[in-house]
């Protein structure tokens, strides 16, 4: 990696200050970067995918690694909470089992021990072409998405623009399904937005995967109280350690008569952003979950899929995951 300056932030404000100045005309991959666990950032730096002159350490900010009750039955999760701390948290396990499942599905125990919630949300895609320094793909300012016409077995089946990456986060689909919000801090202070508006498609900005401006950081995620059941089913090619070929975050609230009052289905591993499927959700409302209803919802969810040359298998695979998730929540 290139030489860089290391700066320990003492507060959120100091972190934002240390990330300045930002050159609006500059290459986004050459800006100062915040670091949590560094599991993605350091490997990206070693491959020269990002070349920050300064790395700002968020782990020195007191309190940012805490999971706290929000007083209304929900949770506030600091950006530097590790993935291990997240799934070992008793409240997370009791109230949001799907979130605990998503956390345990991530990477390896070693990575979960240091990787953070903020880092998981902000990690860069795993597309082979993007990760190779010698390939100047569209996400790195080049002219072409090589995956579109190349080896795209792991790429997107929903079309969201000129790059065919899939978003690699496991927490993101689950948090969106749970109706989470995220707090962003920048030079103009803090703002809290729904998590489902945080991620952006290549159509919006092909160089980025979220709305963070350079110099901004994620400080906290809020998960509101819910009586709904939740689960996260992730399909990995290699169980020991892998990113999702496909995943589904499902949150279902049942009425007393076992009919569905509300459902949220967000897919991972299939699009450049966590992929929300409202039509499938609506199809379940007022119904009990049966094999047929679950299958119908799954079919609806994938109806607009546009697979590439080598990833059509993701359609039946994702349908299966949706079906199984719904039936699991019904049990």
């Amino acid at each position: 990696m290139n030489n860089f300056e290391w700066a320990n932030a003492s507060s959120i404000e100091s972190a934002v200050k240390l990330l300045q100045p930002v050159d609006p005309q500059g290459d986004p991959d050459e800006m100062a970067r915040p670091i949590g666990g560094g599991q993605d950032l350091l490997t990206s730096m070693k491959e020269y995918l990002v070349r920050p002159p300064r790395v700002v350490n968020l782990k020195t900010i007191a309190g940012l690694d805490q999971i706290k009750p929000d007083g209304k039955g929900g949770l506030r999760i600091g950006a530097t909470v590790t993935i291990t701390d997240l799934y070992e948290n008793a409240d997370v396990q009791a109230k949001f089992p799907g979130l605990a499942e998503a956390a345990t599905s991530i990477a390896s125990p070693q990575i979960r021990n240091v990787g953070t919630v903020g880092g998981n949300l902000c990690q860069r895609p795993r597309c082979w072409y993007f990760r190779l320094e010698s390939v100047q793909c569209i996400k790195k300012g080049g002219p072409v998405c090589y995956a579109a016409g190349g080896q795209n077995k792991y790429n997107a089946i929903f079309n969201t623009g000129p790059s065919k990456i899939v978003h690699p986060s496991d927490l993101a689909p689950m948090l969106i399904a749970l109706g989470a919000t995220v707090t962003i801090f920048g030079t103009e202070g803090a703002r809290t937005i729904p998590m489902d508006t945080f991620f952006t498609t290549p159509n919006q900005d092909v160089r980025k995967e979220n709305i963070l401006k350079d110099g901004e950081i994620v400080t906290e995620v809020q998960v509101p109280a819910t009586t709904a059941r939740s689960t996260y089913l992730k399909f990995k090619e290699r169980e020991s350690y892998d990113f999702a070929l496909s995943a589904v975050a499902a949150v279902v609230e049942f009425a007393l008569d076992k009919t569905v009052r509300n459902a949220r289905l967000v897919l991972g591993g299939v699009a450049s952003i966590p992929w929300h499927v409202p039509a499938a959700e609506k199809s379940l409302i007022g119904k009990t979950i049966t094999e047929d209803n679950a299958a119908a919802a799954a079919t609806l969810a994938l109806a607009n899929a546009k697979p590439l040359e080598f990833n059509a298998y993701k359609v039946p695979l994702t349908e299966t995951l949706i079906r199984r998730a719904l039936l699991k929540l019904n049990a």
């Binding site: 795993r126 082979w128 072409y129 990760r131 190779l132 010698s134 390939v135 090589y146 016409g149 190349g150 080896q151 077995k153 399909f235 090619e237 290699r238 169980e239 020991s240 350690y241 892998d242 070929l245 080598f310 990833n311 059509a312 298998y313 039946p316 695979l317 299966t320 995951l321 199984r324």
Partner: protein, 737 residues
């Protein structure tokens, strides 16, 4: 003289009674293994003598070697599959403080013919500065047409690789006649099977420390499979006599057989230029791209069998994909016999690094293809796949071994309970079983010299230049000597891995143990006889013949003295004995059979191997524990080949897309099935035969066949990934509809 009588003190409750007893001992007058069942140490389960060091991290590997004043080397490698270098500008690199030397490897005007080919080398005071230096070298390329897939390479007018097409196929048999015989059979299978280029994935990448300081000699440390391959290569570069050293090794699997390799050559050249030691270590990416691959393969079969289970005719056209190398693949019909055989084997060159040996070169590929084909034929004629295999084995000792192993493996896996109908049964989870067989040479050669030295203080040292590839060489070297001298394992010290010790061959073809163990035995035997001569007077024995060593005692003539006391008879300079290869102690010809049980989720395409067993013969087993480890390792490696591993190339860009462990997927802990290693004790040969490579041959075919038995999908290209299974299931449903 097979047995002899030794007079020993009669013991009662651990104390001598003063009377004389006799014992019968085996002694043949030459170095001999003795009966297989009567070993005290050999053929038992011996923990590795280096296990504590390895597990606590104190074992030194070449990656750990540091010598005073050492510089760090780094390569610049080609980013293109095929290009002409128009210019190399090293001036910026030379200006970086800490960069000590920059050497162009390919001159301007020269060509590179694969991604990862070394283009320039840098030496600097730290690895980080060396990397900065390497990146500061500006290489300009004129990109030339490339070809990186077998299909593209076989097209007319495909770009030429290297010096020429290099595609000379060799044929055997009459294709027309054989294919006519195929067509006349009850059941015919025409199919293509493919395997991608595989990687050795040594956890220790290739590494060298060239300790040359401008003096009259040098020491070169290499992570290599051939200690004695170091001096020749290194002396050519350094111009002075070289001592080669191999410390502990983090794996080779065939990739570290070729002398000092590219990093060795350039570490030596940099050291020579600077009169300063240079260390050079391949990065993981370089390891994937430039240190040699296990070749891919393409097999085109037409084969026919009759309903009685006879494999009648088989026509095979086979391509080895070894990049710029030869990519040799074992000949078909591999383990089986057929009345009519046509075979043609061709090497297909692509713009990729050269194939090198990889754990049973060419065999796992040929075995996967042939065993899949045999399975397809067996199902077509409705015969039990094990029975069909048995019917087509050679009628000789090889066939006898496989019959025995197929029976043993079938019993261990529970073959009788296997899924009767592929894809049958309710629910998405389907279980299935498969099998396959393989063979290998594994014989020894006259190449090792071993020395045993017994000192006056009773210490015993055995030395050999041989490297320990990780198979447990140190442990059996020590065990052979300890057993021969009647000592505990802890009473013997072994030193290996240096050209300062006796000559030894490279580890290739699973020949190390079969070559080295007989020489160790010979040295130990010679040491025992020499010591017996010296000790006889202490016991009052008339001759060495009356002396025996057991339980840490020298005994004879009705007396017994502790080992250390007996060694007082050794001269001050110690007793030295040398051993050479003894052909009668070594054999050739290993056979194995693998069985696998898998569970396939037909809704997701996920394959879980639930159980795997491998039956392996190897004559006399030196150490059952490490032999079983070898068998386990072979099963794991073949499971990886079956389900996960393979180089992925972008045909248009000509580059490898997965040169990292995140993307070149090795099986991990969660992928491990119940592993059942079975040493075939039905093998009566009382000679040492290598088993390291054969344990890796049939497992892949067994898993592939189990997948078919489970879900009815025949995946003809490894790795058998979920996408291929799901696509196969869709095709099956379409065919049924």
């Amino acid at each position: 003289m097979a047995t002899k009588t030794i007079k020993v003190p009669k013991m009662l409750n651990g104390a001598p009674t003063g009377e004389v007893d006799t014992i019968q001992v085996e002694d043949y007058g030459v170095a001999t293994w003795g009966p297989k069942t009567k070993h005290r140490l050999l053929n038992t389960h011996l923990p590795r003598v280096d296990a504590p060091n390895k597990t606590t991290g104190t074992a030194i590997y070449t990656h750990d070697v540091k010598v005073p004043g050492m510089l760090h080397g780094r390569l610049v490698t080609s980013i293109h599959a095929h290009a002409r270098i128009t210019s190399i500008d090293i001036s910026a690199a030379q200006k970086i403080p800490g960069v000590k030397a920059v050497l162009p490897i390919v001159a301007a005007g020269g060509e590179v013919i694969y991604e990862g080919q070394a283009v320039a080398a840098v030496a600097a005071t730290t690895p980080e500065i060396a990397l900065d230096g390497a990146r500061a070298i500006v290489v300009k390329y004129q990109v030339l047409p490339h070809v990186v897939t077998v299909d593209d390479a076989l097209k007319p007018g495909a770009p030429t690789v290297g010096r020429g097409p290099g595609r000379g196929g060799n044929g055997q048999g009459n294709q027309q006649q054989v294919e006519a015989a195929v067509a006349a059979c009850d059941a015919v299978v025409e199919a293509e099977y493919r395997t991608p280029i595989l990687h050795h994935c040594c956890l220790e990448t290739h590494a060298v420390v060239a300790d040359f300081r401008g003096g009259p000699n040098a020491t070169v440390y290499v992570s290599t499979q051939a200690t004695f391959g170091i001096p020749g290569d290194a002396q050519r570069e350094l111009g002075v006599p070289v001592t080669g050293v191999v410390t502990h090794m983090g794996g080779g699997f065939g990739s570290k057989g070729g002398g000092i390799g590219v990093v060795g050559q350039w570490a030596c050249r940099l050291a020579k230029q600077l009169n300063t030691p240079v260390k050079m270590v391949n990065t993981r990416r370089e390891e994937f791209l430039m240190t040699g691959n296990g070749p891919g393969s393409l097999h085109k079969f037409k084969a026919g069998a009759n309903k009685n289970g006879t494999l009648v005719a088989i026509s095979t056209i086979q391509y080895g994909m070894g990049g710029i190398g030869n990519g040799g693949i074992a000949a078909q019909p591999y383990s089986y016999v057929a009345q009519n055989v046509f075979r043609q084997s061709t090497s297909v060159n692509t713009h990729e690094d050269s194939s090198v040996p990889m754990r049973a070169p060419g065999h796992p590929q040929a075995c996967f293809a042939m065993e899949s084909l045999m399975d397809e034929l067996a199902y077509k004629i409705g015969m039990d796949p094990v029975e069909f295999r048995k019917k087509n084995l050679p009628n000789n000792a090889n066939g006898t071994a496989w019959h025995r192993q197929l029976d043993a493996g079938a019993k261990a896996i529970g073959w009788a309970n296997r899924n009767a109908t592929p894809g049958g049964g309710a629910g998405p989870l389907k279980r299935g079983m498969g099998c396959a067989i393989g063979s290998w040479g594994g014989g020894g050669r006259a190449q090792c010299v071993v020395d045993v030295k017994i000192s006056q203080d009773g210490s015993v040292l055995v030395t050999s230049g041989s490297q320990d590839l990780g198979t447990g060489t140190r442990t059996y070297v020590r065990a052979i000597v300890a057993e021969e001298l009647g000592l505990d394992m802890t009473a013997v010290v072994e030193k290996i891995g240096s050209t300062a010790y006796g000559n030894a061959g490279g580890s290739g073809g699973s020949t190390t143990t079969a070559s080295l163990a007989p020489a160790v035995k010979d040295a130990a035997y010679n040491a025992r006889i020499a010591l017996a001569k010296l000790v006889a007077p202490l016991l009052g024995a008339a001759s060495a013949d009356e002396v025996w060593f057991d339980k840490g005692q020298a005994m004879g003539n009705g007396k017994s003295i502790p080992w250390k006391q007996a060694c007082a008879a050794v001269p001050a300079a110690g007793l030295s004995a040398r051993g050479q290869f003894v052909g009668a102690l070594s054999g050739n010809g290993a056979h194995g059979a693998s069985f696998a049980e898998v569970e396939v989720d037909t809704d997701t395409g996920h394959v879980r191997v639930t159980k795997m067993c491998h039956v392996q013969d190897g004559g006399l087993i030196m150490n059952r524990l490490t032999a079983e480890s070898q068998i386990n390792g072979g099963m794991i490696q073949s499971l990886g080949m079956a389900l996960f591993e393979g180089r992925v190339m972008d045909p248009a860009l000509g580059i490898m897309l997965n040169p990292a462990f995140n993307d070149y997927k090795l099986p991990g802990a969660m992928e491990m099935p119940e592993l059942i290693p079975i040493i075939d004790d039905g093998d009566e040969r009382n000679v040492v035969i290598g088993i390291a490579e054969p344990a890796n041959i049939p497992g892949c075919g067994a898993v592939a066949n189990a997948v078919f038995n489970a879900c009815g999908v025949r995946v003809r290209e490894t790795p058998i990934t979920p996408d291929k299974i799901l696509n196969g299931l869709i095709e099956l449903r379409r065919a049924k509809a």
